[in-house]
Amino acid sequence: MSDDLIISGSGSTAVATDELYSSAQQLHRLAIEASQLRAELSAIDAMISVEWLTAVHGPVSAAQAESDLHQAVALMSEIEMGARGLEWALDTAAQGYGYAEHFAGSIGAQFAGELGGLAWSLLPLALGAVPALGSAGAATAALLVLRGEAVTVPAIMTAALSRPSTVAAVRAGVMGTDDALMALSGVPRPVANILGDSGTGVMGTAAAASALMGAGASAGLFREGQVQLTAAHSREVVGPPQGFEDRLSRIPDPAHEGGAQVVVERYSQAGSPDRFEVYIAGTVTFDPVASTEPFDLTSNVANAAGKHGGAYQSVVEAMRLAGVTDSSPVQFTGYSQGGATAAMLAASGEFVTTGLTTFGAPAGQIVIPDSVPAVMVEHTDDLIPALGGTQKNIDAVIVQREVFGGRELPESEMVPAHERRYYAETARLMDSARSYQVARASARLESFVSGTATVTSTAYTFARAAPGA
């Protein structure tokens, strides 16, 4: 189970494993091949007739060959029909699963909205129902982890947070935050339904995140400020990225690369404009109090609110320094917050975005234009992408995998499925995937830099100059 890739999106409502899609494609090709072979065998069969053989006293073996050909033609028809029938069964299963997922998601979102609306009136009861000690312990542990402090994570908590059902519930819960805020503000439920995600979308998760930023600011949290470059260094690069695993590996890890959060590769070829690959790191600190690190929780909330936070500003500045203009073709690749920032940049329309790849990004509610080929990779047992809400981008290729299905959870990590090494595993599986959705997306991303003469790579480090300024 943990090596199965679930593929959805690509403009279709179908959801299925890479293996199922690959089998359906094989059957499709087999049906076409059988049809062509039937036509060719019929033509061969028509060259020599039994009448002709009889008239010239042809060899008996030639007449027997004619009989074999008749049988072969009939069998080719049978192969074609059989392959088409099985292909139909697989397509129907994928469509059915997709509809079931969509239906479950709609019900979940509606339920989350209703629950969000009721949350404030039910809050005292809910709190009373939870054992106070356990609740306080879990909250303290979560806060310590979020603040980057060492903490022993109880195995039971890791297991609970890594359940796909928990992740799905969190995703639905995120979609209900706007309803909860509207209920708090006294907005009647029917009006909230019209304004929320399931209605006009005037309110929604972005509005809820904006409200959170506003409320937090008064308590000294989530206060943005201007960013400035603090360091830049050249990076060794041998050529364009080959596959998803290589692409993920080029995203900088600030902890091991002197704090660099953004890498820009520039591809030059005589006679055509320079092209750029931009790689964006994930969150460096989850401290809700904005510090000099722009890749922090404040930028995460800003991304959710659709605002240009410190991380977004840093990438835009790195691109400017690297020579990206408003007509330069650009591809974005990001991990976690970097993926959400990449999605924001692609959605902004400010750049000629020709490709987007995200790994574990909370970016479901960031609407990427249909014209941008996008691949979004999420683990179904990773809580972080769920914080971005349900996936709106049905034209993107959505690749999902349950990392710890039937596998032991590692100790000392609160959300192990979000770890980059497990996304590297998934990327490796994607590189050997055979479904046309993944293979086509990979080919499209790689064609961006084909035929390049020179490539340079620069890593950039940014700091927030004056938080709250």
């Binding site: 059957l27 060259m47 020599i48 006293h57 060899p59 060959a65 050909l69 072969a72």
Partner: protein
């Protein structure tokens, strides 16, 4: 009907049989590739009766592809025998030792 390019009926049939043999060689290679590459493996993506039904369908399809391959291979083999017969018959006709022979 295949247009006879040669002046005698035997030569026309021999030419047609040789052409058929060559074309069946190509079909056989394509069919072998299809049998190897285009028949999916049994499913890992389903469980229970759905998996059983699908796998039975794949097994039946593989059997039909095998039967198709066997029919084309047999047609090609018998065509080759017919070609050899025709060549032998032509040789005997040229030597004046045969008026008609059917094997």
């Amino acid at each position: 009907m295949y247009p006879p390019p040669a002046p005698t009926p035997n030569a026309s049939l021999l030419y047609a049989l040789e052409t058929q043999e060559r074309q069946l060689d190509v079909v056989l290679m394509r069919l072998e590739a299809a049998r190897r590459d285009l028949v999916p493996a049994p499913a890992n993506f389903w469980r229970g009766s759905a998996r059983h039904t699908y796998d039975a369908g794949i097994d039946a399809l593989r059997g039909t592809v095998d039967a198709g391959f066997a029919a084309v291979r047999s047609a090609r083999y018998r065509t080759a025998i017919a070609v050899a017969d025709m060549v032998e018959r032509d040789a005997l006709l040229a030597a004046g030792g045969l008026t008609a022979r059917v094997r």
